[in-house]
């Protein structure tokens, strides 16, 4: 359009607005918007289908017997007791290792680390670790914990592997939470004569704690659903006794491991009934953990 005067350009604009060109344009607009919404809905719909399928297949099989039985060769008598105790024990031990390490590393990086090469290396490294496939952590755990440190295919080897896996997640979440604490709080503490460490221990970290807990719970919920790393470390597919957190060197299993075991069996009763019921339990646990994390964040997190 070669427009020379304001008046002509206004006329041209009016013509475009009124003309047939605009009808085609708005239809194209609407089609495009609907396409985008449709594409966004697809993945949400698949999630809905998945949940419906779990409920449909799983609810019928889920009962007290299923929750309290050890695995059996017969699908009707099998259960996930070993998986539940195993996952709980793994979670307790993983948290006991990953939480203090992750928070300490975050406090160091956020509050004390000098801006030098070591610090930059640490930061780049945390970002890179987040992209390492979880099965590779399993290889690390197998070579280092199981064989080099001679822990065997034990609960503690599995928990340490999971702890390393979620450490970067906890560090990133804790740093964000620490960063949200205003500088004024630190300055006030220092001005009153507290040492930097005292400021961190008594002011900064306690203020950031709700956010740190939220991040840790979310990280733990990821650990609970992980299958590949503990499978590589040597979790038992079909274990007929309980795990306890203090039985460090016991053989172990977990709920995802039992799901994998059920799914890989040829009989439909295992694939559909038992697997779905176990998945229903796992998803419920994860949903609960996520809800707790969100409540924690909304109720206790301070807005500055």
């Amino acid at each position: 359009m070669a427009l020379s005067t304001p008046q002509r350009s206004a006329e041209a604009a009016a013509a475009v607005l009124a003309g047939s060109a605009s009808a085609g344009r708005t239809r194209g607009e609407r089609v495009f918007a609907v396409l985008l919404l449709g594409a966004t809905a697809v993945s949400v719909l698949v999630l809905g289908l998945l949940i419906a399928q779990v409920l449909l297949d799983g609810l019928a099989r889920l009962d007290l017997q299923f929750l309290t039985s050890y695995p059996s060769r017969r699908a009707a008598r099998t259960g996930i007791r070993a998986g539940i105790t195993g996952s709980l024990s793994l979670m307790v031990l993983t948290a006991a290792v990953a939480f203090p390490l992750g928070v300490a590393a975050a406090v160091y990086l956020e509050e004390f680390a000098p801006d030098n090469r070591f610090t930059r290396l640490l930061e780049a490294n945390v970002a890179n670790l987040a992209g390492v496939p979880s099965v590779v952590y399993g290889l690390l755990g197998s070579a280092v914990f199981v064989y080099l440190f001679q822990m065997g295919r034990s609960l503690v080897a599995g928990a340490l592997t999971l702890a390393l896996l979620i450490l970067p997640v906890i560090i990133v979440a804790s740093r964000e939470s620490l960063r949200a604490v205003p500088q004024a709080i630190r300055h006030a503490g220092l001005a009153l004569g507290a040492t930097p460490l005292q400021v961190a221990a008594r002011q900064t970290v306690p203020s950031a704690l709700p956010g740190i807990f939220t991040g840790t719970i979310l990280a733990l919920s990821r650990a609970v659903g992980e299958t590949a790393p503990i499978l590589v470390v040597g979790a038992v597919l079909s274990r007929r006794s309980d795990n306890v957190p203090w039985g460090l060197l016991d053989a172990f299993t977990g709920l995802p491991i039992q799901i994998y075991d059920f799914v890989s069996r040829p009989q439909a009763d295992f694939r559909e009934g038992a697997a779905s019921a176990a998945i229903l339990v796992l998803l419920t646990v994860l949903l609960l953990m996520n809800s707790v994390a969100i409540v924690l964040r909304n109720r206790y997190a301070r807005r500055w």
Binding site: F112, G131, P133, A143, V144
Partner: protein, 325 residues
């Protein structure tokens, strides 16, 4: 560190603008020095993890390639993967290409699903969604991202495979096949691509949009010709990270894609990926020193190299879009 007179009075990192150095000059108590060292040690654990991963993978992979029956050349060029056979016989072949083929086939299918769906979701959430719709869709996508992969694997065999067999015929679609695993994996990766791309699109200054609207552009033109190109490096980073996740994903393929390594481009046949081989091999009792155990690490090293390269590439793109505005 040596330039600082004391460890306990360091410089706070973060935004240099609002964080002046907290140098108090005083000498920290000995207990404080110790505490500070412990904190730094915790940070060092993450570095040890990386060092450990690299050392373990390459040490064990190296001992694999030192085995007399194994050669690096055969590994990277061989088109048959039969690592469980008698090493002295023809039943033993260690060409990694069939596993690589399986990984790339499933990843390709996954990206065919994840890229269009992920980018459309990002565009919709960033430019179109009314607040109320967004408040439903965002958490739903986050929920999807939190579903354990073993559950997605079950969904692939229990739901997707029957659907595919119904649509294309039982005789064409194998019970375990690359398509079913790839499609479900693609859905799994949608939240990754959507959320990172949306971040990149939201970071495009609104001045660019307003200028385009001022010139008479429709919303579609603004999205496709202004926002999308401006966010491109962030979008590319999101896609690269998505590819990395697809390559490293284990349980979906271990459950749904089958266990037969082969050179095929047919999505309805069964394949074995690198990750699925690792799972298959560890289900045996193989320990250190055995050929099988070492082969896991050779495959793992290749897997790590691929995802590491993708990560570095993604970070480069992310840095570029952060610097742009």
């Amino acid at each position: 560190m040596s330039e600082h007179p004391v460890i306990g009075a360091p410089v706070l990192v973060g935004d240099p603008g609002d964080r002046p150095p907290m140098s108090l000059g005083g000498r920290p108590r000995r207990g404080e020095q110790l505490a500070m060292a412990l904190l730094a040690l915790a940070g060092a654990v993450t570095v040890l993890t990386t060092v450990g991963i690299v050392a373990v993978l390459f040490f064990d992979a190296a001992s694999f390639f030192r085995e007399p029956v194994v050669s690096l050349w055969a590994f990277v060029t061989g088109t048959e993967w039969r690592p469980f056979g008698n090493p002295e016989s023809d039943a033993f072949r260690i060409g990694v290409l069939p596993l690589l083929n399986g990984t790339l086939l499933v990843t390709g299918i996954a990206m065919l699903i994840a890229i269009p769906l992920g980018l459309a979701s990002a565009m919709y959430l960033s430019e179109y969604a009314p607040r109320r719709v967004r408040a439903v869709l965002k958490p739903a996508l986050e929920l999807l991202a939190g579903v354990p992969t073993v559950v997605l694997g079950w969904f692939a065999v229990d739901f997707m495979t029957p659907v595919l067999r119904g649509a294309f015929g039982d005789e064409r679609v194998a019970i375990f096949n690359a398509a079913s695993a790839g499609i479900v994996m693609g859905i799994m990766i949608v939240p990754t691509i959507a959320s990172l791309s949306e971040d990149a699109m939201s970071a495009v200054p609104s001045g660019l949009r307003e200028a385009a609207y001022g010139l008479g552009s429709t919303r579609r033109r603004v999205v496709l010709s202004v926002v999308f190109p401006a966010a491109l490096s962030g979008v590319v980073a999101a896609i690269i990270l998505g590819i990395g996740r697809a390559i490293g994903e284990t349980m979906i393929v271990a459950i749904a894609a089958g266990g037969m390594p082969q050179m095929t481009a047919n999505p309805f046949e069964q394949v074995q990926t690198m990750t699925a081989y690792i799972v298959q091999a560890v289900r045996g009792e193989a320990g250190p020193g055995s050929l099988t155990y070492e082969s896991i690490f050779a495959v793992g090293a290749l897997l790590f190299l691929m995802t590491f390269a993708l990560n570095l590439a993604a970070q480069r793109f992310v840095r570029r879009y952060r610097e742009a505005y």
